[in-house]
């Protein structure tokens, strides 16, 4: 077994960490407080190559392995969940489906600005009445000559309503499969198409500096050329996209856990009570020991899932396990981190409270913890 990263992976970690500490850390709290998505910062992240990381150079991607991408997300999340969300959603949900399922023409047309980090693309799956139960979705696409007419709405769609957004991939019902289940197909809906409206959502508890949208489709006419893949591919495309997306959510959990743990350890070593640093008390030390141990477990699980994926081996079970474990891991670590900070941990001056809030999405987005357990239980033969 070789646990060493490659020289390039080590360099990516070093450079992304340095970027995150210098460019993101100083403004993360303000962006969070102001619920402010920063396109300036997003473009800077694009300049160092954080978008299109797994896309080939032909479409101006960075042509890296999956583990390198995960390391980058982890390092951004170590400092700020919101920016990590922009990166993870941009790569896995925005760029991913276009790259894996798009026609040559669609890829050449849409990918370059996204891979350069000059534009963003959303992935519209969740609906007001269809979360874990994708079968409850009601957005439809009906053929009319060379066009498809879309009607319906989507909710909680990352990167879909900011000044950098060019459009969204939308999953819609295009018919009924044999057996009576709905047939799904994905369409590329571009900003400016009549009847399409993207509205930013406000009042989020977490990821407050990332962009989240509600999408409305009112007789939106989408040309056949904007169909992603073949008619009826939508369900399969969604499953495959979410398998990969789970790894980046896991990376956010791991990175966020590391960030919270490091703050807690630093605080515990400097905070004195009863005449000594509180890190010397077993009640605190054991919490930190548990955090360090679980972080090690989470990293090994996540990196193994990436290792499988990079070798084109099945990784869906491990991806679900990593997503489940790392998102809950961040919850436990952030909870300990706030507890160790005591009263200060509740104040915005100490960043652990942001990690405590940011973690909660990870157990809900891209498949809840409950759905991950269903996926895992099916893989092990329950």
């Amino acid at each position: 077994m070789d646990f060493d990263l490659t020289r390039e992976q080590e360099m990516i970690r070093r450079e992304v960490r340095s970027f995150a500490e210098k460019e993101i850390a100083p403004i993360a709290a303000d962006l969070d407080a102001g619920e402010h998505f920063s396109s300036t910062l997003t473009r800077k992240m694009g300049e160092i190559g954080l978008f299109g990381m797994i896309v080939s150079e032909a479409y101006e991607g960075q042509a890296m392995d999956y583990l390198s991408y995960i390391i980058a997300v982890e390092e951004i999340a170590r400092v700020d969940g919101s920016q990590a969300a922009t990166i993870a959603a941009g790569n896995s949900l925005g760029i991913g489906p276009l790259y894996y399922f798009g026609t040559e023409e669609q890829k050449r047309r849409f990918l370059p600005p996204l891979c350069r980090g000059q534009a963003l693309w959303g992935f519209g799956l969740t609906e007001p009445t269809a979360g874990s139960d994708a079968g409850g979705s009601t957005t439809t696409a009906v053929r009319d000559g060379d066009n498809w007419v879309l009607n319906g709405s989507k909710i909680f769609i990352t990167n879909a309503a900011c000044d950098m957004t060019l459009g969204v991939t939308v999953q819609a019902i295009t018919g009924t499969r044999t057996g009576g289940k709905p047939e799904y197909t994905c369409f590329l809906v571009e900003n400016g198409m009549p009847g399409f409206k993207a509205v930013p959502m406000h009042g989020k508890m977490m990821w407050r500096a990332s962009n989240t949208a509600e999408l409305y489709f009112d007789d939106v006419r989408v040309p056949q050329a904007n169909m992603l893949g073949q008619k009826g591919d939508g369900f399969h495309q969604m499953l495959q996209t979410l398998d990969g997306g789970r790894l980046s959510i896991a990376a956010m959990g791991l990175g966020g856990a590391i960030g919270a743990y490091e703050m807690a350890l630093k605080y515990a070593r400097s905070r004195e009570q009863f005449g000594q640093p509180i890190s010397k008390f077993q009640a605190i030390a054991f919490k930190l020991a548990d955090c360090a141990t679980e972080i090690e477990c989470g990293r090994n699980l996540l990196y193994k899932a990436c290792w499988l994926r990079d070798r084109q081996r099945p990784f869906a079970k491990e991806a679900a396990m990593a997503k489940l474990y790392c998102s809950e891991l961040m919850g436990r670590v952030a909870d300990h981190a706030v507890q160790i900070h005591g009263g200060y941990g509740l104040m915005k001056d100490y960043h652990v409270e942001r990690f405590y809030r940011d973690h909660k999405l990870l157990e809900i987005g891209e498949g809840t913890s409950e759905v991950q357990r269903i996926v895992i239980s099916r893989h092990i033969g329950c």
């Binding site: 390039e8 070093r14 450079e15 300049e47």
Partner: protein, 258 residues
Amino acid sequence: MEILVLLKQVPATESLIAIANDRVSIKPDGLKYVMNPYDELAVEEALRIRESQGGTVTILSVGPAKAAEAIRTGLAMGADKGILIDPGNLTCDGLATAKLLAAAIKPMTYDIIIAGHRAVDDDNFQVATALAELLGIPNISMVVKQTLADGKIRCLCTVEGGTKEVEATLPALIATQRGLNDPRYASLPGIMKAKKKPLETRSIADLGLDAAGLQPLVTIKALKMPVERKGGRVIEGDSVAVKVAALVKALHEEAKVI
């Protein structure tokens, strides 16, 4: 334009330094190493010159095998090739380092050499100046701005409380000062491209030198940690006026700064 950059790998400034048991070196365990910050300015300036004038950027570093990491960071920022001079067991002082660099550079063609004015680990300030002397070329230090025209380099340099403008004929060596530029990050695709860029390692023997001529003229006899800073003092008093009076008195009579 053939541009050479001198680079040193140093412990990161935020590292916790501990003195080793021999009392003359630092403990290497757990230290994070980075490119000397003044050398980052040098790499950035070299890349900017290449972007405007064309040419190649070659990075040279004297250090152990590990120092190749810092060279690779420079390659990932955009430099074209790297040369690591590994002195083996030899402990190099500033002059020995300059001699090694001079031996490597003499057979090369170059228009400009850019170095940091000092490395933040030993604060020696010597290598760039000694190298220019050994090569017999002009040396301009503490550069905050440079322009190239008609085979000459014109530089703005910091001096106590102000700046001076100087000019020299190429080839010349310039040493960077903070403010020269804002170094770029190594981009992720840059990191992947750096993989294929040439990085060669040379030993003292490869350079046609022998250890006897490189023995340090200066040796470190002892290292000491800085005196720990004492805690601050809060001036007590019933009113602002009383506190200010007490503060002024303390600054005047105890600290003797006003």
